[in-house]
């Protein structure tokens, strides 16, 4: 029972063989797989971290861009407003001017019309006066006196007319 013999050597050889076999068949493959998985997980985590960093960066950029766009839009709106205001002023002013000129021209036309009409009336009245004067005076009067006569008449009539106007 308590004896050491050559079997000790066989046992040692057995152990070494078992160690080599197990290392080759069991421990190496399992360790390799575990290492690989660990690496995979570490890579995945790294990738996720990178992706998150990228996303954060992009978000920051977008936010900056958005902020810029907002300011830009406010500026554009302001510009448009001032432009519209000036355009409105211009158009209104123009319209006022045109209306003024139209009214002016209308007044002018009316004035000219009136003058014309008055002139016509005047000559007609003169004609009537000459005719009536001729009838009254008969045929003695010369044609040179005629002119003086009706001019004189016209002056009287005109004064009388102006008096009635007043």
């Amino acid at each position: 029972m308590l004896q050491l013999n050559l079997n000790l050597v066989w046992e040692m050889i057995n152990l070494i063989v078992l160690f080599l076999l197990l290392r080759h068949f069991l421990i190496r493959p399992v360790t390799d797989i575990m290492e690989k998985r660990k690496k995979l997980i570490a890579d995945g985590l790294q990738n996720a971290q990178d992706a998150q960093n990228d996303a954060m960066k992009m978000k920051q950029e977008y936010e900056d861009a958005l902020k810029g766009a907002k300011q830009e839009s406010v500026k554009i709106l302001e510009n448009a407003r001032t432009e519209a205001k000036s355009e409105y002023d211009r158009i209104v002013g123009e319209a006022g001017e045109r209306a003024g000129s139209i009214i002016e021209s209308a007044k002018e036309t009316v004035r000219m019309e009136r003058e014309k009409t008055m002139n016509e009336l005047r000559s007609e009245i003169a004609g009537l006066a000459v005719a009536s004067a001729g009838k009254i005076l008969g045929r003695q009067a010369g044609s040179g006196d005629d002119q003086n006569l009706y001019d004189q008449f016209l002056e009287e009539v005109g004064e009388a007319h102006e008096d009635t106007d007043k």
Binding site: M1, L2, Q3, L4, N5, L6, N7, L8, V9, W10, E11, M12, N14, L15, I16, V17, L18, F19, L21, L22, R23, F25, L26, I27, R28, P29, V30, T31, I33, M34, K36, R37, L40
Partner: protein, 219 residues
Amino acid sequence: MEELNCETVFTLPVIGGISESVVVTWIIMAVLVLLSVILVRNLRVENPGKVQLALEAAIGWAQDFFEGILGKENRRYFPYLITVLLFLGASNTIAPLCGFKPPTKDLNVTAALAVMSMCLIEYSGIRKNGLKHWAKHFAQPVPVVAPIMILEVVIRPLSLCMRLFGNMLAGFVVMELLKTVVPVLVPIPVSFYFDIFDGLLQAYVFVFLTALFMNEEME
């Protein structure tokens, strides 16, 4: 008490007698290698099966355990320690599981294990700190302790050997006596204690102490 003897199974012409424990060791080796070949066959990095997960958990536990003692830089010693752990676990519990006499109740087996551990302990010390430092460390801290330090080289594996051998032999003797006195039912819980629990505990203690001594030697 003839169960205590290690019979010679057969005799080879030149080498001599091959004892029972060597044959049982061969059987254990065959079973372990076969099992590992079968279990390791379909390993996958993604979507591991249940068997693979259990295997990885076991190996991972052992590696973490040794890493806690020896540190990450000594990963090269882990396979041998795991091998010894598996072998001792199998051989200590083989009595109730398969009916063989445990090889570890033979002094030759535990002595072989202890000699291997001794070689490993001294080798790790020499490899880490160099031959000079290894030779010098016997005279530390004072030269007077040199004889004791040199004795320690032998005493450490001897204690490993005798602890394992004594535990397994005692367990075996108690179990055999109990089986002759009360052959029915009573041996079952006792066998769980002496063969399964004590066997696994001794396997754990053996590799734990070996790793601890290696760590001590590497300082």
